[in-house]
Point group: C2
Chain length 203, copies 2
């Protein structure tokens, strides 16, 4: 009974391109049980190799607009004639089973989630320095100088949103960043309001 979590935590993770977020998330998921990734819904067509329910939930425009009409989306946006969004219903279903749900979204999406789910844990991942972010983006060898300059400019704008987050995790080393996120999740489980069912036996 003590091990049974009453309700999962919604975790919102943001951070600039190149900070190493995907690696941190993969490592976190390999170490921690009972945490799921929120799979976005989109109306765009699957690319080669993309799986329905894994990379995205691929739906028709009609289905997506039905979700909007029924207020089932936590946040959504339209890019290049396609919708992208997060289903509040799917998340709620997991949280109620005691599963933590991680949302990897940009600062604008995070702001929308904040207005609807203020109790979520908002975590921003930063590199140890701006120079290191630039080094990491160059080290990928995938982007042109122009694209990298654009990403660094965007990072600067994103950093301005950090005061709206609860936690700041520094990815100087993946193991260190993962340990900090694990501590944040464990501490959240220990919050008095998340352990009310334990308290009933002492009342």
């Amino acid at each position: 009974m003590l091990k049974q979590k009453e309700r999962g935590q919604l975790i919102v993770l943001s951070g600039p391109s190149g900070v190493g977020k995907s690696t941190v998330i993969a490592e976190l998921f390999s170490q921690r049980e009972n945490i799921h990734f929120s799979v976005s819904y989109t109306t765009r067509k699957p690319r080669v190799g993309e799986q329905d329910g894994v990379n995205y939930n691929f739906v028709s425009r009609e289905e997506f607009e039905g979700m909007i009409a029924r207020d089932e989306l936590l946040e959504y946006a339209e890019y290049v004639d396609n919708y992208y969004g997060t289903s509040l219903k799917a998340i709620e279903e997991q949280l109620s089973r005691g599963v933590d749900v991680l949302l990897d979204i940009e600062v604008q999406g995070a702001a929308k989630v904040r207005s609807r789910c203020p109790d979520a844990l908002f975590i921003f991942i930063i590199p140890p320095s701006f120079e290191e972010l630039s080094r990491r983006l160059h080290g990928r060898n995938t982007d042109s100088e122009e694209v990298i300059a654009g990403r660094l400019e965007k990072a600067k704008i994103e950093f301005r949103e950090i005061p709206n987050y609860d936690y700041l995790v520094i990815n100087d080393k993946v193991s260190h960043a993962v340990a900090e996120i694990e501590a944040i999740l464990t501490a959240a489980e220990c919050r008095v309001e998340n352990r009310t069912s334990i308290l009933t036996q002492f009342a």
Copy 2:
């Protein structure tokens, strides 16, 4: 620079007699650096074996009343003609050097600290069940049935204060309770407001 903490955390730990708080604290201190115990001030005479500055800071009645007059005490009480209190000045000096300070106090003292230091971390330790608390108190073999019954009654009153705490830690196993407290302290270090100096390099 990243390792340097800007400011220590004030940690208030409460829990009923018999919950195993001293063992948990000893284990926490053996595992964690940069955390100090707040030594109370008292006007009572040292008992055999008690050391000044270790068990208590032993001061005269005049000195103690001077601390009251100068508003240097975070909380204090008078029992059996002796003062007992916590020096805000001593705590503040350690926090400003980046050292965490742990206060082991009862619910009434914790309430006073809450009104003056709302940013402190308030942690309450409970046993896995009320029956287990009773077993532990009996297992000590030091107290009469009457004394134990009194401690259990007092525990029930203390439990009512739990909603005023931030965190609830279950001491089913010492290692488990210590791991939860460690996570709470690490998560607090990751809070955005505790990492503002890191942010200045990204501004």
